[in-house]
């Protein structure tokens, strides 16, 4: 069969020839992805079952000890330390996503109601932080939260922090940093949906005396679902692996799973444990993606 002549968009050829040419085009890119993406991923899985040698080197004695450690079991008994960090990462990612969504809706409504010219200006203003390096955006909060600034003074006045201390590192600073980091990730895809809302449906709901909550959940939410779900996934997944923001604004007081992984590959030099934590994060990500997949939406990239 594969040698039969066929016409493929104006080309008279055989299926075998066509696939051969296609494969030669796929080869360089796919070889790259296999070599530097798929293979390292598989190696990471294998290493997560390996053992750390006395000097931080890898030893190929296979064990599930790394996963037991992640779950809190050690020779000293059970501790919840690592599980707390994992859980905290999920909570931080969830709350960050939630706040970003809550803030993005009014912003999108506002931008969508502008004239066409100023709409582009506002959108560009949202896109600029989106593309600004996250190290800069995280450390920029140092200035705002510095002891000389009113925010820290007010907090000190109410006794939340000692006088003359900055408003970081703590959980509050991590949330501030995270939301400012990920807000544009929700706003941009959401805007694409808000722009296309059929406002007649919203007005109809209002005319029929629907409460504001019902107007939102039954007239606005379904219409903006495609953009919203993209925004949620673009925020939730990277937020869970974030390590710059908690490192700079949370310090040792508010570690997330990203910091934990970085520690294993940096100071602790414990690759097998680092690999096991990465697998843990991967599983959490997969669960998140699976929930999203069931909505059956295609991701659109900015």
């Amino acid at each position: 069969m594969s040698n039969a002549l066929l016409s493929w968009y104006g080309e008279l050829t055989t299926r075998r020839n066509l696939l051969k040419r296609g494969a030669s085009l796929l080869l360089p890119g796919m070889l790259w992805l296999m070599l530097f993406l798929v293979l390292p991923g598989l190696v990471l899985v294998v290493v997560s079952f390996a053992t750390r040698g006395a000097y931080g080197q890898l030893e190929w004695t296979f064990t599930v000890e790394n996963y037991q450690r992640l779950a809190g079991f050690s020779v000293f008994g059970w501790t919840s330390d690592y599980l707390v960090i994992l859980w905290r990462s999920v909570v931080v990612a969830f709350v960050t996503t939630l706040i970003s969504v809550v803030l993005s809706y009014p912003l999108c409504f506002y931008i969508a109601a502008r004239s066409e010219r100023s709409r582009y200006m506002w959108l560009t203003l949202v896109i600029i932080p989106f593309w600004t390096n996250m190290v800069i955006r995280a450390y920029a909060w140092f200035l705002i939260l510095a002891p000389e600034m009113p925010f820290a003074k007010i907090a000190a006045f109410f006794g939340f922090i000692p006088a003359g201390a900055p408003l970081y590192p703590n959980a509050f600073a991590v949330y501030l940093g995270m939301v400012s980091m990920f807000l544009p990730f929700v706003t941009l895809p959401l805007y694409a949906s808000v722009e296309r809302i059929d406002w007649a449906l919203v007005e109809a709901a209002q005319d029929l005396y629907a409460s504001p909550v019902r107007v939102f959940t039954q007239a606005i939410l379904p219409q903006t679902m495609p953009g919203l779900s993209v925004g949620i996934i673009l925020t939730f997944v990277p937020a869970m692996g974030m390590f710059v923001v908690p490192d700079l604004l949370g310090g040792a007081k508010y570690m997330l799973v990203g910091n934990l992984i970085q520690q294993q590959f940096g100071a602790s030099r414990d690759w097998p444990f680092g690999a096991a934590i990465s697998m843990g994060l991967m599983v959490l990500t997969m669960i998140g993606l699976h929930i999203y997949r069931r909505k059956g939406k295609e991701i659109e990239y900015v």
């Binding site: 968009y9 085009l25 530097f36 969508a112 203003l125 949202v126 800069i136 450390y139 390590f243 700079l248």
Partner: protein, 266 residues
């Protein structure tokens, strides 16, 4: 035109202020004539002049640029070829599903996992070749890996958008494979390739995590430099450097926007 509720307006403006307040703060204090503290002592550009005297910063800037340019060029070429290979041939459902999944991995996993995987893989490859010592080459490989996926996705959507009629017409007029690629496909694809390339370039400038994990002592980039410097204490010089990076970002964003918008109206 629809009118906004007063609360919508207030909330939106506050959200924008929330996004921009820290960035504006950095820019303002980058021109403040005070070495320490946050008291306004008058306008100066001396922190900017000092940047250009700092060898470390100049080297980091050079590394950042080399990393972004080299990785973008390679990723754009590989990504474009990959997109053509995926879209223009009669692959079965399972093959294209498989290719699609691979392509989406770098897009949907947290970048720290890719970074960790690369650290481990490079660590093992080091036994084979010293090319895989931490450093610029490793960083370039890491950047290409995630850029490649984004470029291929952008170019593929352009391939779908331009359709196959023109190619079919060229075939009917006896165009060879090579002639078709050079004179028909590439010109039509060019806006998509450029958009993909610009995306790849910005992604590289924006990246911190992959660079942080794969960098060596000789291959500092600007984000890595800022990250290390901030932990030693914030100085006006760092503000100046950050402001410069932000300005470059603004220019890139505005140019890209202009470019993609013109493409839509054309």
């Amino acid at each position: 035109m629809r009118r906004n509720h007063l609360m919508t307006v207030t909330l939106s403006l506050m959200t924008m202020a929330f996004l921009y307040l820290p960035l504006i703060g950095v820019a303002v204090f980058s021109v403040n004539d005070a070495r320490r503290g946050l008291v306004w002592k008058g306008f100066t550009l001396k922190w900017y002049y000092k940047l250009f005297e700092n060898e470390w910063i100049l080297e980091a800037a050079w590394n950042t640029l080399v990393l972004a340019l080299v990785s973008t060029v390679i990723a754009t070429i590989l990504g474009t070829i990959l997109a053509i290979g995926m879209d223009r041939f009669p692959w079965g459902k399972r093959t294209s599903g498989f290719l699609d999944t691979i392509l989406h991995i770098p897009v949907v996993i947290p970048d720290i996992i890719l970074a960790a995987a690369l650290v481990v893989a490079f660590g093992l490859l080091r036994v084979v070749s010293s090319v895989f010592e931490p450093g610029l080459i490793n960083m370039i490989i890491g950047h290409i890996t995630f850029q490649l996926a984004f470029v291929a996705l952008v170019v593929r959507s352009r391939l779908v958008a331009i359709g196959r009629e023109v190619e079919e017409a060229a075939r009917d007029l006896f165009a060879s494979n090579w002639y078709l690629l050079r004179k028909v496909m590439l010109p039509l694809l060019m806006p998509g390739i450029i958009a993909g390339g610009m995306l790849a370039f910005t992604l590289s400038l924006d990246d911190f995590v992959i660079s942080f994990f794969t960098a060596g002592p000789e291959s500092q980039t600007l984000p890595l430099f800022i990250f290390a410097a901030v932990r030693r204490g914030v100085t006006p010089q760092i503000h100046a450097l950050s402001t410069l990076v932000m300005l470059i970002t603004v220019v890139l964003v505005v140019v890209t926007e202009r470019f993609t918008r013109r493409k839509e109206t054309a």
